[in-house]
């Protein structure tokens, strides 16, 4: 799992089944073509799929279609190996990063010649940059075992060779160079002693790589650290002797998509397209658990607890990014004071309120919130990364704000920070003292953000979730989960009445009680039981809603509207004319203060303790339709008057 995060581009959504046909139809009209091609590149594509997309791009280019607003970039490529699979992968992958890349290939093995000769195909093309994609096999790096002087001479010879390539390219075409470090071979000569003995292959390669890095620092030329990519996935996976022998492929074909993403993100960084703000979800992302339900003592963010450590690692990474100039923001579905509490009071929290430039905790959808954060910081949406453990939230923001980068995350929070890092959103090619100050600068300017209008068509997204809601009366099977929800839910809970399992069992057969257990499934999976309702008949024609609670995981999905429709349906069947709702405030359930108002109830009373009473006439109720499939099973209609 951990190494395939990289090889499989795990942070990108899986490609759809019909990717080929999407590629075929994308050129049918040229409206917004650039963005639509970019959209196709945002999946985890394999080599064949990248090749297909590159073909489409080439066709669009040949037909003179506009690729705006993608940034054009011409890249010369020099190599000592077969580039036929790499070049299309580079062009297609660059789309993902907002670049319309056009590669110009030198002939096979023509590296120094193509750089030095003014009329080479590379130099005549006047590229923006030249990628020097050579590997170990190209270089005259003879091992000079035990001979320090000869080793130094060999290294300096190689570095001079690179220098000559860079100068040739610069003088002949004005292009900058993108150099690559060398991936060492997994085969060793002595074993660990390779690292010790001057002139052993591993030593020479390390020296060349260090020399390359030093030689580009402070210049316009940049480095793609291929050696680091290879070490990250494993040198034995990177180097495939069989594929080199078969077709002179410089490294394993299955890693071409990963390599291409590294090159493309470097080019994007050169064009100022790196992301600049990280928006963090809180519950189950920055800490384990739900602050509104579990409270300060219940959330997992402490050392010594595996889940706590995992979430601390997320915080540590966010802080490190802030240090290098990435602005941090928060978007959480919570009450503001509840969400801030761990930042203020939890001793183990590494992130403090001061680190967060914009803190958005409310019950709005997250797309709306992220849009508000972007406006507050005056940063474009394409500068944003959004980290959230919840696939529904990720899907919603991806749908409505496609410019925002949103990594897919594995189930295990231990891998959250690694996945974020693997995605390379914050790739940079320079670092200045300005960067060190940037996060503070934004902080000073940030104010509380006013809420915006909804950012897009939420209903269409909800419809795409294909939600299935299931209503049943309380029963034996659901009993313990019902009791658990009744005793654990704090936030979306109108009365916070607590009942034992025995009391729940009694309600199953109590003729005065109408009960609902509600389950919700969607394309991402089964959410299980997410809502519980108990109505009591206080008068032959009146139900009082004793308990109404819901899991906050399904907020913003119009579940409460669907629940009310179900209650009304049964009320009618049972001869009920009036529903009475009660809101009893606690220090946790402020979010449902307006619950009954938003569902069309009329307020009929209030108490000094803040409790409010609400009424809805069954005949007059009108509840909006919700885009979900409704199943109700196990209900018997009770005859009117049968109390």
């Amino acid at each position: 799992m951990s190494s395939s995060i990289y090889a499989d581009l795990f942070w990108l959504p899986k490609s759809p089944e019909n990717f080929s046909s999407l590629c075929r139809s994308v050129l049918e009209d040229d409206h917004g073509l650039g963005r639509r091609l970019q959209g196709l590149a945002k999946y985890a594509l394999n080599g064949n799929q990248l090749g297909r997309l590159a073909k489409v791009l080439a066709k669009a280019r040949a037909d003179g279609m506009s690729l705006a607003p993608l940034t054009p970039f011409r890249l010369g490529v020099l190599s000592n190996s077969t580039l036929d699979f790499i070049v299309p992968a580079l062009e297609a992958t660059a789309l993902r990063h907002g670049i319309a890349l056009e590669c110009i290939k030198a002939d096979y093995g023509q590296v120094i010649q193509a750089a030095l000769s003014p009329d080479s195909v590379i130099n005549r093309a006047m590229p923006d940059a030249v990628l020097v994609a050579v590997d170990l096999r190209y270089l005259p790096l003879q091992s000079t075992l035990g001979n320090q002087e000869a080793a130094a001479a060999a290294v300096s010879g190689v570095l001079q060779h690179f220098q000559a390539i860079r100068e040739g390219v610069r003088n002949n075409s004005g292009a900058i160079s993108i150099l690559q470090t060398l991936a060492p071979l997994p085969e060793s000569l002595f074993g660990s002693f390779d690292r010790v003995l001057p002139g052993a292959p591993r030593q020479l390669i390390d020296a060349v790589n260090r020399g390359l890095a030093e030689s580009v620092y402070g210049t316009e030329d940049v480095l793609v650290d291929v050696s680091a990519i290879a070490e990250t996935v494993g040198l034995a996976q990177w180097h495939s002797p069989a594929q080199w022998n078969m077709a002179k492929l410089p490294f394993a074909d299955e890693l071409v998509p990963l390599y291409a993403d590294y090159v493309a993100r470097t080019i994007a960084a050169l064009r100022g397209k790196s992301r600049r703000c990280l928006v963090l979800d809180l519950d189950n992302t920055v800490w384990g658990g739900v602050i509104g339900d579990d409270g300060l003592e219940g959330i997992k963010v402490a050392q010594g607890d595996a889940a706590g450590e995992a979430h601390l690692a997320v915080q540590r990474m966010a802080l490190a990014l802030r240090e290098r100039g990435v602005v941090l923001a928060v978007s959480s579905k919570n009450n503001d004071d509840v969400a801030r509490k761990p930042f203020r009071e939890h001793p183990e929290m590494l992130l403090k309120e001061d680190h967060i430039a914009v803190f958005q905790a409310n019950w709005n959808d997250k797309a709306t919130n992220i849009k508000a954060i972007a406006e507050e910081l005056s940063l474009g949406l394409e500068s944003f990364v959004f980290l959230d453990d919840n696939p529904v939230e990720r899907g919603l923001v991806r749908e409505i704000l496609p410019q925002v980068a949103i990594p897919e995350l594995p189930d295990d929070p231990a891998l959250f920070s690694r996945t974020l890092s693997a995605a390379g959103y914050f790739e940079a090619v320079t670092f200045s003292s300005e960067d060190l100050k940037r996060a503070d600068y934004y902080q000073d300017n940030a104010r509380r953000v006013t809420l915006q209008n909804q950012a897009g068509d939420i209903d269409a997204y909800l419809a795409s979730l294909k939600m299935e809601i299931t209503f049943q009366p309380f029963d034996r099977t659901g009993r313990s989960r019902i009791a658990q929800l009744i005793n654990k839910s704090n936030q979306y809970n109108l009365t916070t009445h607590r009942y034992t399992e025995a009391e729940v069992a009694a309600a199953e057969t109590d003729p005065r009680c109408f009960t609902l257990q509600v389950r919700l499934a969607d394309i991402f999976g089964d959410n299980g039981m997410i809502s519980v309702v108990i109505c009591r008949r206080t008068d032959p024609k009146v139900w009082e809603i004793d308990t109404w609670l819901m899991s906050c995981r399904v907020l913003g999905r119009k579940v409460q509207e669907a629940v009310l429709r179900e209650i009304l349906k049964h009320a009618e069947g049972n001869g009920i004319e009036e529903l009475i709702g009660i809101y009893k405030p606690t220090d946790r359930n402020q979010m449902v203060e307006g619950h009954y108002r938003s569902l069309g109830f009329e307020q009929i009373g209030s108490e000094p303790d803040g409790s409010t009473t609400w009424k809805l006439l069954v005949q007059e109720a009108s509840v909006v339709e919700t885009a979900m499939l409704v199943r109700s099973t196990g209900f018997e209609t009770v005859e009117i008057g049968n109390i």
Partner: protein, 79 residues
């Protein structure tokens, strides 16, 4: 693995590699039957088959392939 399943999965790989929804991996199919099937596509095909079946071919296995039937046989011996 059943022979029909191998051919079904090969057909899927062929369609992906050659971007052709009509192509069918029949036993007697050879490179000369498919216009696009040059030496480079051949490498692409072999690599894609390796990935699809989670197998690795040796150089001699690859160079001895004469038609799709040979390919299916080599796969059969490995899965």
């Amino acid at each position: 693995m059943e022979s029909t399943e191998i051919y079904d999965r090969l057909t899927k790989v062929f369609r992906e590699v050659f971007d052709d929804d009509e192509i069918v991996a029949r036993p007697d199919l050879t490179a000369s039957d498919v216009e696009e099937w040059d030496s480079l596509k051949h490498v692409r095909l072999i690599l894609s088959v390796e990935n699809a079946f989670k197998v690795r071919f040796s150089a001699s296995e690859v160079s001895n392939l004469k038609n799709v039937a040979d390919l299916a046989k080599v796969i059969q011996s490995k899965v």
